[in-house]
């Protein structure tokens, strides 16, 4: 077993299995074609499952993948086969909720691509070189959003505290439902 919990990759794919944003942290897939092959097999194998209310889980050769879908977006987090499944699920949930906060509840492919900078920063704040940096969605989104404040991105129409408040409200609603 790895001494330190580690994440092999985080994937955000669309409803056809195409990349929205991805980040690999391990050398298991050295080339782009190896990565694409992995994404394809993960996508096809999980496509038909219902991972909309609760995160689902599947095993691949030497990896465990936890995943969750919303609208036309498929979120995946991959770890080693001996990894604690619940740690991976926590990372997934952190990513999923942070994206929800940053996109202010409108989580779909289009919104994600329009705010791709936020998604990429979000990935950067969750895991660094395979090591979990942060799993609390509010903290992650907070760190990412702070930077947009000066840049005049769409978020500036709202103050940051307002944005977070709306998002938190949305999160609370989704937890209660």
């Amino acid at each position: 077993m790895e001494a330190c919990p580690s994440v092999k990759n985080i994937l955000l794919l669309d409803s056809e299995g195409k990349r929205v944003a991805i980040k690999y942290y391990s050398d298991d897939w050295p080339t782009n074609s190896a990565k694409e092959a992995f994404e394809k097999s993960v996508f096809t194998k999980t496509q038909k499952t219902n991972a909309r209310t609760e995160a689902e889980i599947a095993m691949f050769e030497n990896s465990i993948v936890v995943y969750k879908f919303v609208q036309d977006l498929h979120f995946f987090v991959t770890g080693g086969e001996d990894e604690n499944e619940l740690i991976l699920a926590t990372v997934l949930q952190g990513f999923f909720d942070a994206v929800g906060l940053l996109l202010r509840g409108n989580v779909d492919k289009r919104e994600a691509l329009e705010n791709l900078d936020l998604i990429l920063l979000c990935l950067d704040e969750i895991v660094d070189g395979g090591i979990v940096l942060e799993t609390d969605a509010n903290v992650i989104a907070g760190k990412v959003a702070t930077h947009s404040v000066d840049s005049g991105a769409p978020l500036s129409e709202q103050t940051i505290s307002q944005a977070l408040a709306t998002a938190r409200e949305h999160l609370a609603r989704s937890l209660l439902s």
Binding site: C4, N32, L86, R110, L133, S151
Partner: protein, 885 residues
Amino acid sequence: MAQFVKKDDDLDGEEYSPFLGIEKGAVLQEARVFNDPQLDPRRCSQVITKLLYLLNQGESFTKFEATDVFFAVTKLFQSRDLGLRRMVYLIIKELSPSSDEVIIVTSSLMKDMNSKTDMYRANAIRVLCHIVDGTLLTQIERYLKQAIVDKNPVVASAALVSGFHLLQTNPEIVRRWSNEVQEAVQSRAALVQFHALALLHQVRQNDRLAINKLVTSLTKGTVRSPLAQCLLIRYTSQVIRESGVNQAGDRPFYDYLEGCLRHKAEMVIFEAARAITELSGVTNRELTPAITVLQLFLTSSKPVLRFAAVRTLNKVAMTHPLAVTNCNIDMESLISDQNRSIATLAITTLLKTGNESSVDRLMKQITNFMSDIADEFKIVVVEAIRSLCLKFPLKYKSLMNFLSNILREEGGFEYKKAIVDSIVIFIREIPDAKESGLLHLCEFIEDCEFTYLSTQILHFLGNEGPKTSDPSKYIRYIYNRVILENATVRASAVSTLAKFGAMVDALKPRIFILLRRCLYDSDDEVRDRATLYLNTLGGDGSVVETDKDVKEFLFGSLDVPLVNLETSLKNYEPSEEAFNINTVPKEVKSHQYVENNRNISNINTCLGAPLAAPTSTADSYEKLLSSIPEFSSFGKLFKSSTPVELTEAETEYAVNAVKHIFDEHVVFQYNCTNTIPEQLLENVSVIVDASEAEEFSEVAIKPIHSLPYDSPGQTFVAFEKPAGVTSFGRFSNTLKFLVKEVDTSSGEAEDDGVEDEYQLEDLEVVAADYIVKVGVSNFRNAWESMDPDCERIDEYGLGPRETLAEAVAVVNNLLGMQPCEGTEVVPKNARSHTCLLSGIYIGNYKVLVRVSFGFDGPKEVAMKLAVRSDDIAVSEAIHEIVASG
């Protein structure tokens, strides 16, 4: 990204992406805005996003393009825009510039590292550590140490995580940060503690005492984040693994693990439960609380939790099936779980824990389940059924029926092979199952699309079929193959027919008729085989008793690994001298059957040919030795041992030794590595004191001329010994060399050196060095084919042993022979066990050993050793080894 946004109405129903039609060339052009004197932060951010998008989609930049973009990006440090700076950090990491480029950004990044904005500091640290090399790192080390103990948790975490990565490349620098890291472990910020703990453990991982102290203090103190708690559980189980059970029979730290089962975070509960189930030699009392929490998880609404629990219970069921039976009811409801991984794990767990009476009910449930799962899951189920059947041989009928039913259904090659392998094992292990099993296989080959499986089954049928009560009923199936199949299958059907002919005299005339028909086959291999067999069996009319040589020819297994034979044939050059099969090396590199991930069963599937493993190391040793003139006259290399470590890990000089055994000589190969960058070793040799090895006399030494830092070299010492005798002895070794100081910055060594010596561990030549591991495919056949007069049987007491597995390991190590048919694995709690061993003794004598172990009184293990070999003297020699060992 305002400019990307179009009107919603335009795109009803059509795919919309802000990156539609994006092109690398155009974006690289756009990147020129980075050079504008008046920077537009928003526009620059957008361009960076586009670049990152391209990289993310798998586009790659040429070296030139990347350098160009990188230099342009460095200009953006002028802007004070926070968002843009974040994007700059991100793209620098993605571009991973080369070391000569890094220098451009270091000053900017170092400025950010000391900025007042925490966000800048944290990110600058991460970027800088991502791209620095060793020399630069020493310059910024001071700042990193400060950052580790920074009061801002984001900054501290950034420095700690960076330290974790740097440990791979610059361990000596990161090790100097211990004090700061130690301080960070006490941090009040939850994640800082987690990162500090991970780094501290990584730095000290080879220092058992330090880890022990760390665990002792933290398990009593406060650990704030669940992630850190999980880490601590892992370190604790490491300490438990290394310290074992104490005198009172208590396990240190077990209470801590048990306490974690009541933690509020599920990930901690699960980590602790899993750690408990994985303790070596865990008792039922220790297991119970862990099983209880896992059972609760089984009924959770979260699939991840159910999966984690059932996967762990599945593993426990392999070693402690009884402990898991309490969960059976919950497990049964999981068979219909939406998630097929969970369902499969539940089924296989049930198969392992079920008792004899529940088998039929389970099989019924599985039959419904099989139709809607993928092949890979089906294989898991088949393997579980295989082990179940071996556990309850009386139930073979229903299990065999199940297998033959699924064999008829659709499925891929791997799946079919798993089923066929299982049936073959049933036939081998359960005598009653033989006839029905063979018939199932016959029916299968009537309609089998896989050539490989058909030939394997035909081969197996040829060995087993003639021994059944009515061999004639199989002939129809076999001859059908000759009529209907492709050349490969036809050829093996011909061989199978010949085997029936050889074994069953009553069938001979009819077989001859069939074989003669094959003489007109369209394929030459089929015709050749038919001719060959007709001649060897005396098919020219006279019905004669088949003699022993013919049987040996038909049924004997090839006693050399196929891979070795293949290499030898490739190297053979046509000449006057015929190819001699005896020159083929027989050593099988101890091949561990790759335990498949699911670990379902330890039974090796032995359908036909002996499993051969690559023998590249043996080959390369032989090449290496024959290239040294001093040793080229020693003849054929008999055996090379696995490397024996002669130094502790992490000492100044790492040395291990390989023993090469020749008929009249022994050569020790010392592999030396110099682990000190400041030293160059010259004239390195090993001084061997053979005073405790009387029959050996030293004949040659081959020193290493020069041994620079971190590039391994080999020195050799050769000894002469009496031919054909197994001489033993202990050798003490001293490494002798000339040390020269090296200036690490220039890499040049000083001219003058100092003579020095370094004491190494002793090396022994033992009995096992004279026996080569060579497996046989079918032990019983091989055993019966050897002369019973050359058998020697004796009994030995092995003294008190904890388990039979320990006793088996002792004998295996002593003899160094190849365990056959998976018999080196002792079932848990077995009271008796038989281990089958095979090998070649020096002088090229084949040796087979059958050892039966049993308990003789409490904890006393006794064994009965039966040895057969080509020569009675060899059988006696083996007994002598055991008696003196």
